[in-house]
């Protein structure tokens, strides 16, 4: 159990900067998720902490200890690899016991820890099997077990679910959360999947091109994304963006887009005095767009007419793929909707939940 600190950490491979001046404070017992598109440096950040790559500049601390020059085996961390990296010639028991044996743990203690971990993960009947005799899900558990028996200060996981099928992934997600509560250890988890990040993380760090974009709780990240990248990356389907101009005076402030005009709620309008007449990016999440026919209260200033292109029934909801003017966007509405492909539809935007971004800096405007 320990906190982890990245202090101005930079990693360069030749001319490529994989991690750029990363500052992160990960609290003890936290489940921190590093998320971002492929090539954003999240795996590199994890490997720097594991000691598998050397830091170009900056410092990494585990607890109070500076670990820059500490070899991987002395950092007291365990890592679960995307490929699981099980030792193919050893059975499950030996795979899990390998690290403990190298550390000269007493035999009865090894036995106790391996059996306990196997019990937690439900792989007790598989201890004699070789990795090739296991299914993907079972291998993934063995990889977790190998980390658990070590009782490390910090758990590192590099996309551990990406080789599992969709159903197993959802199930394992919940089990990982349970495991975190049970072990009460610091977890650092790397994924490109924003759903995994949202469902498991205590806090989420969003990375892009080696730069930390935002570090916050899942709810704050979702409700107050600091820039267009985070807004578009977190949430599925992704947030809709429209170029728009801020018009009007006093409390009567409007967003004029290509093919529609929406009234900005009075309490938001007050803060936008300095931006009158400026271009900006207007963002709204698909679930904040409703079918007008089903909306309870309708303000005439928040209605947008659009053409339905495709509908996707998900069971409990319907995704509408729409177009207005030259702009495509997505709405997530109730299945009762009468919207049909090729037909026009009237929609209501929930402007209380709008997001505004500066088109040049791409940063949030409040």
């Amino acid at each position: 159990m320990a906190s982890v600190t990245y202090d101005h950490v930079t990693k360069q491979f030749g001319n490529v900067t994989a991690v750029n001046d990363l500052n992160l404070e990960i609290k003890d017992k936290e489940f921190l998720v590093l998320v971002g598109p492929s090539g954003c440096g999240k795996s590199t950040a994890l490997r720097l902490l594991a000691g598998l790559e050397e830091i170009t500049s900056g410092n990494i601390y585990i607890g109070e200890h500076l670990v820059n020059d500490v070899p991987p085996k002395d950092r007291d961390i365990a890592m679960v690899f995307q490929s699981y990296a099980l030792y193919p010639h050893m059975n499950v028991y030996d795979n899990m016991a390998f690290g403990l044996r190298l550390r000269k743990t007493a035999k009865p203690e090894i036995d106790r820890r391996v059996k306990e971990a196997a019990e937690i993960l439900g792989i007790s009947p598989l201890l004699d099997r070789k990795p090739r005799q296991l299914s993907g899900g079972q291998r993934q558990r063995v990889a977790l077990g190998r980390a658990i028996v070590r009782e490390p200060k910090v758990f590192l996981m590099d996309e551990p679910l990406s080789n599992l099928d969709a159903k197993l992934r959802v199930q394992t997600r919940a089990e990982l959360s349970k495991l975190h509560q049970r072990l009460e250890t610091t977890f650092i988890y790397v994924t490109h999947d924003q759903t995994e990040a949202m469902t498991m993380g205590t806090r989420i760090a969003v990375l892009k091109d080696g730069l930390l974009q935002q570090l916050d709780t899942p709810q704050n990240l979702y409700d107050h994304p600091l820039n267009i990248f985070v807004a578009g990356f977190i949430g599925s389907p992704a947030m809709n963006f429209f170029p728009a101009r801020l018009l009007g005076e006093d409390s009567q402030v409007y967003l004029q887009a290509d093919s529609f005009r929406l009234k900005v709620p009075a309490e938001r309008a007050g803060k936008l005095v300095n931006y009158r007449g400026q271009e900006m990016i207007f963002g709204i999440r698909p679930e904040d767009i409703h079918d007008r026919a089903l909306a309870s209260s309708v303000s005439q200033d928040a209605v947008v007419k659009a053409q339905v292109e495709v509908t996707e029934l998900m069971g409990s909801e319907v995704f509408l793929y729409l177009s207005t003017g030259k702009q495509n966007f997505t709405a997530r509405v109730e299945p009762r909707t009468s919207a049909r492909p090729g037909k026009p539809v009237e929609l209501v935007f929930n402007m209380e939940r709008m997001h505004l971004f500066d088109p040049n800096t791409e940063e949030r405007i409040d």
């Binding site: 594991a50 490929s83 990296a85 550390r103």
Partner: protein, 285 residues
């Protein structure tokens, strides 16, 4: 229906493979047949004449083998060959696997340059080294000794062995080694507990190569051992049969077949390691 058309479509390929295999094995079969025929038959007709009456066991005899083993000190030569070949196989493979691991998984300055030089050594003809090394051996008193021959074979075998094993070690999944290092393994542990057990197929094929090479070698043995009968291996012995016995073909064939026996046994014993799949299940699903 589908399987029948499949057989038809692959028939030409199979015929070609069978034809090639027959072509390659014919000389060996001829050798075996000749070695089992009496001297006068060998001198008067070709080995293929046995095909006229293949089931007549009366035309075969073990006399040639008895004669070779009794008369010409073949037993001593057989043992000498073993004494030369076994260390000359184990030594280079052991050294090469250490070196190959270092080239594949350890970072040190000049790694690439050193490896390129080593690979370059593969193309150096060993004949170029015969005279300088022989002079060195005479100086050191190694000429005519088993030790000298072991060292020579080790030196000649190492570049290729290192090259082959490095490529095999390098193809093992990186995650496995990183996982082992996080588990607390040193390079030595990773070498003995991971790299070696996972490379049994490569080590076995390397062992077969090296064993056959040394077992069949005549040149190096002749040059460095100088034809001393006490230390001469089978190859030297068999070649001296030709000169000392002149036209005794029947004995030569038997002697040659005796020298082929052990390599055949070794090959059949180790060939199952050529089968792939020992890595299955280590990574991914």
């Amino acid at each position: 229906m589908k399987s029948i058309s499949r057989i038809w479509s692959r028939l030409p390929l199979h015929l070609l493979i069978i034809g090639l295999a027959l072509l390659w094995i014919t000389p060996s079969l001829g050798l075996l047949a000749s070695s089992l025929r009496p001297a006068r038959d060998v001198l008067s007709s070709g080995w293929w004449t046995i095909l006229e009456r293949p089931f007549d066991l009366g035309q075969f005899t073990l006399e040639n083998y008895a004669a070779v083993l009794n008369r010409s000190g073949m037993d001593r030569a057989f043992i000498n060959s073993l004494i030369i070949t076994i260390p000359s196989t184990i030594l280079p493979i052991t050294l090469a696997s250490f070196a190959a691991y270092a080239f594949a998984w350890m970072d040190f300055p000049g790694r690439r340059a050193l490896f390129i030089i080593l690979v370059g050594l593969i193309v150096v003809p060993l004949q170029m080294t015969l005279i300088p090394i022989l002079r060195l051996y005479n100086h050191l008193g190694l000429a005519g000794s088993f030790l000298g021959l072991w060292l020579a074979h080790t030196g000649y075998g190492l570049p290729f062995a290192i090259y082959l094993l490095r490529n095999f070690f390098g193809a093992l999944p990186r995650d496995l080694f990183e996982s082992a290092f996080l588990d607390g393994a040193s390079h030595l542990t990773a070498f003995f507990r991971l790299a070696l057990p996972l490379s049994v197929p490569a080590l076995a094929s390397m062992a077969i190569f090296q064993f056959l090479w040394v077992w069949n070698d005549l040149l190096i043995a002749l040059v460095y051992l100088g034809g001393t009968p006490q230390v001469a291996p089978l190859t030297v012995r068999v070649s001296s049969l030709v000169s000392s016995l002149g036209q005794d073909w029947h004995l030569l064939t038997a002697a040659a077949f005796i020298s082929m026996l052990l390599p055949l046994v070794i090959f059949f014993a180790l060939q199952r390691y050529f089968v792939r799949g020992i890595l299955a299940g280590s990574v991914k699903g």
